[in-house]
């Protein structure tokens, strides 16, 4: 359990994080979203115990990060932004050092190191110095050190940044398969990642919490939620006819793919009506599908809008 209460961080006159309050229960994967400079990293640095909050409190597994920092840090694994590592060390030495300081010893340490080396496919670079590794490998070494002591709480600042699509997929699989009693907090600006791994998403901008909801609930806020995408040969006829439907707010047209997207009025679902219409008119339909909603559009709407969208509390 992570409990954050009225967390505020000021750098001089700049307020990086403003009065943030939320809890993360066990077993949850929380996605931390926000534009660059929103205060994501600052919040994570405070949770990890690197920065001291200006005011407010953070407790991790029952330990207040300011009064019991060592106990709280023991319960956490942290991947800092940019996945820093000691350049002159090899991944093998580095993992052993972290495991050592984390209090693992003897055979247990050996076993845990072996396990994260397997999980993150580091076998081939084990004895190469970290500074000579590619960005993707460095990121994986950073993840390995965060996982090595099998922590209850994982704080990962942009864990898939710099990875290729295959590696991204693997890291997401890894996060998704961590045991169910763990807490994972990941910050990202890749929205597909939130859909792929997160149970819950928090959106912040300018240091303030703007939305707190499941990815599905966020998608439901999208104007594309329940929108119908129709690919059809008689495009112009279809645009004309679909625009007339009462549930349809407006129609977007993509000519090159011979496709239209019917955006519904709030709360309506025009799929049935459009399906019916195309049967009546006898159109040659290539594809007819309902969209779940677009997170990127919701994200833009929330972070550029002036007021927050109320989420679940």
């Amino acid at each position: 359990m992570i409990e954050i209460k009225n967390l505020t961080k000021q750098f001089g006159t700049l307020t990086a994080v403003k009065d943030l309050t939320f809890e993360v229960p066990e077993g949850q994967v929380l996605g931390f979203l926000g534009p660059n400079g929103a205060g994501k990293s600052t919040t994570m640095k405070m949770v990890a115990g690197f920065l001291t909050p200006t005011s407010g409190s953070i407790s991790v597994c029952g330990f207040d990060i300011e009064t019991h920092p060592i106990e709280a840090k023991r319960a956490m694994g942290y991947l800092p932004e940019g996945a820093p590592g000691y350049g002159e060390m090899t991944p093998s030495q580095f993992l052993n050092f972290v495991a050592d300081v984390r209090g693992l010893s003897g055979e247990h340490r050996q076993r845990r190191c072996e396990q994260v080396i397997e999980q993150l496919h580091l076998r081939n670079v084990l004895h190469q110095s970290i500074e000579t590794l590619s960005k993707g490998f460095r990121r994986r070494v950073g993840l390995a050190q965060a996982l090595v002591h099998d922590p209850k709480v994982l704080i990962l600042d942009e864990p898939t940044d710099g990875l290729d699509p295959n590696q991204k997929h693997e890291v997401r699989e890894l996060i998704a398969h961590l045991s169910k009693d763990k807490i994972v907090v990941i910050s990202t600006h890749i929205l597909e990642e939130v859909e792929a791994v997160c149970d819950r998403a928090i959106i912040i901008a300018s240091g303030r919490l703007l939305a707190d909801a499941t990815p599905e609930e966020l998608e439901a806020k999208s104007i594309y939620h329940n929108a119908v995408s129709l690919a059809v040969a008689e495009l112009d006829d279809a645009v004309e006819a679909v625009s007339q439907l009462s549930d349809v707010l407006k129609v977007e047209v993509a000519r090159e793919s011979r496709r239209l997207i019917a955006i519904p009025r709030a709360g309506k679902s025009p799929y049935g009506a459009i399906a019916e219409l195309s049967r009546q008119k006898g159109w040659a339909v290539d594809e007819l599908a309902v969209e779940r909603g677009r997170l990127d559009e919701v994200f833009r709407q929330i972070t550029t809008g002036t007021e927050g969208v109320g989420g679940r509390t």
Partner: protein
């Protein structure tokens, strides 16, 4: 203490994983030898005395440039590469981290200093020196190196630029080294009461090291260096805490 040891081990291994250690040790030994035999008016042999005074009398000057070269990277590099965030989110206290890194750098200086042993063998072969005085001088030299290192470590924590750390450390160390001479004292004499000017004068590394290397093991001289080290390391921890965010 256990955590200090773990950080210490990683640090000292990192010196020897890069050319830093070898370059430093070779240069230190060459300069220490060259200064002893060629500089200082009367050479090592010409003095006709079996002691290591010419050898030790150049240590303050050697340290003035070589110790900042070690200390400049201590924290500046951690800050630049971002590993400071990693280190300070491990379950270690700030003071364990500061102490572990400092002790590693100090042990490294001690290794370089120990490797000057051939000069000690030579002087014992050539004559019959007072080995008690030599031992005291080695101790004094090591303590002085520790003082310089603690200053350098603190300054290194204040910047992420190693060159800035190096230059500032040399300047501050130079001030401490020579705080007994008019060049430094005159800067204070105009506006400080005499008692404080005397206090500044008493901070001179040179005076305290000189006393120890003459074989006078006064507890106050030893304590002086220990206090300098403690003071700067505490300052070091405070500086890191204050400047973590930038």
């Amino acid at each position: 203490m256990n955590q200090v040891l773990k950080i210490f081990r990683r640090e000292i291994a990192s010196y020897f994983a890069t050319p830093v250690a070898y370059v430093f040790i070779v240069i230190f030994l060459i300069l220490a030898g060259a200064f002893t035999f060629y500089l200082g008016g009367v050479g090592f042999y010409e003095r006709g005395q079996a002691d290591l005074l010419p050898f030790f009398s150049f240590h303050p000057w050697l340290y003035l440039f070589l110790v900042p070269a070690i200390s400049m990277r201590l924290w500046a590099e951690e800050r630049k590469s971002g590993t400071i965030e990693l280190l300070l989110t491990l379950p270690v206290t700030m003071f364990q981290a500061v102490l572990g890194k400092f002790l590693a750098a100090w042990a490294f200086c001690a290794i370089a200093l120990l490797l000057t042993f051939p000069i000690w063998i030579s002087v014992n072969y050539l004559g019959d020196p007072d080995n008690g005085v030599i031992l005291a001088s080695y101790l004094g030299s090591l303590l002085m190196a520790g003082g310089f290192l603690a200053i350098g470590s603190c300054i290194s924590a204040a910047t992420r630029n190693q060159v800035v750390a190096f230059i500032l450390t040399v300047v501050v160390c130079f001030g401490f080294l020579l705080s007994g001479i008019p060049l430094v004292l005159d800067a204070f004499r105009g506006w400080l009461p005499q008692a404080l000017v005397d206090a500044v004068a008493s901070l001179s590394f040179m005076t305290h090291f000189g006393a120890i290397s003459k074989g006078v093991l006064d507890l106050r001289d030893l304590l002086f260096f220990v206090m300098v080290i403690v003071f700067w390391l505490v300052a070091n921890a405070i500086v890191i805490d204050l400047k973590k965010a930038d």
